[in-house]
């Protein structure tokens, strides 16, 4: 069942906070609608970037993600939850998490349950790496806060884990205060980040 909560994003064009909706339990139609707007925008921008000679490593690293396929793959599995933030009738970011099957790796909480963030992304028009004037910020922070809140709700004390794409390593390490456990050979050598209960509490302050 879909649940909606009011949140706020920062409209970067005006510098003000604007109302948005956090959707817990995104519907198939909503995922489809997001794909229909994200993909053409992203493809167009990638073509522009390629034509401008932008090196491949600076192109958006999540450009092949297919949220519709992810939705299909998790449908019917209670441990998976998909969240999205809607603003101005468009999806501004999406996140897929699971509440089972993953445990903590940080020594102080090793083996304890956590919420694992399988995928987290903002709409392409919100990314400074793609467009010169991104529309909204706070998408990442609100989705991460949502994962933490879900972890608290599941009695995991705010513990979360994720594999960051290289372009986002700095944000998770320095701006979110997560523990960097280094490259994970089992996940295409992406860096694995984990948030302890204390770090989660600090993040929400």
């Amino acid at each position: 069942m879909s649940e909606r909560t009011q949140v706020h994003l920062k409209d970067r064009r005006t510098g003000t906070l604007v109302e948005a909706i956090l959707i817990d339990g995104v519907t198939e139609e909503e995922v489809q609608a997001a794909e229909l707007t994200w993909k053409p925008f992203l493809e167009k921008e990638i073509r522009r970037m390629e034509a401008a000679g932008v090196p491949k490593e600076r192109l958006p690293q999540h450009r092949h993600w297919d949220w519709r396929q992810k939705y299909d793959a998790i449908e019917g599995y209670a441990a998976y939850q998909m969240f999205a933030i809607e603003c101005e009738s468009e999806m501004q970011g999406m996140m897929l998490v699971s509440t089972a099957g993953k445990v903590c790796r940080v020594e102080s909480q090793k083996g304890k349950s956590l919420v694992y963030v399988h995928f987290l992304a903002a709409a392409p028009w919100n990314l400074a790496s793609i467009v010169t004037e991104p529309r909204f910020s706070l998408v990442g922070s609100i989705l991460l806060a949502t994962a933490i809140q879900l972890s608290i709700q599941e009695e995991f004390s705010g513990r979360i884990g994720l594999h960051s794409l290289p372009q986002a390593d700095g944000w998770y390490a320095h701006d979110c205060g997560m523990t960097d456990l280094g490259c994970d050979a089992t996940a295409h050598n992406l860096r694995y980040f984990e948030m302890t209960a204390e770090q989660a509490s600090e993040f929400l302050k």
């Binding site: 909560t5 995928f119 960051s164």
Partner: protein, 164 residues
């Protein structure tokens, strides 16, 4: 979901988020998608006589080595993700993205339609493709340099794909 995010918190976080890249998740290859598609294609191929996909990876591997290219060089040349190229060459049951197949077909100068069949994206109506693909895959070994038989196998298979 109850979120108590104050205006102060939002303002503070916005400063950190303005220019941030935030993506998280398994790099490039969509694990959910590939798992699901692999399963679908495996089911389809179970009903067919031969699975051509091992030959697809072999073809790419031999062609690359024949040209003296490293994996990253071929990925660059074909404008595909290195991670996906690694998966193609190493996982015989992997079904690559149609876009990747198109880019590789263009780089190798082969028919996209035949390559889509070979990669498991499209079911081949022509049974000889599956047979030829299996024969080809069986003849080639993964070694650093192409031996004469591999060289011959590659040439014959490329010729077969070009003729159709």
């Amino acid at each position: 979901m109850k979120l108590n995010l104050t205006k102060e918190w939002l303002t503070k976080r916005a400063e950190r988020d303005d220019k941030a890249e935030i993506s998280a998740g398994v790099f490039s290859i969509d694990i959910f998608k590939s798992k699901q598609r692999t399963h679908q294609v495996a089911s389809i191929n179970a009903a067919a006589d031969e699975d051509p996909r091992p030959a697809f990876g072999k073809l790419i591997n031999l062609w690359r080595r024949k040209k003296g290219l490293r994996m990253d060089q071929l990925a660059e040349k074909a404008n595909i993700d290195l991670a996906e190229l690694i998966e193609i060459e190493r996982n015989i049951h992997y079904t690559p993205e149609p876009r990747t197949v198109y880019q590789l077909a263009r780089t190798l100068g082969l028919s996209n339609e035949r390559m889509l069949q070979l990669s498991g994206n499209v079911i081949a109506r022509d049974q000889t493709l599956g047979q030829e693909a299996v024969r080809f895959a069986a003849r080639s070994e993964s070694v650093e340099k192409l031996n004469k038989d591999e060289q011959r196998a590659l040439e014959e298979f490329v010729k077969f794909l070009s003729e159709k």
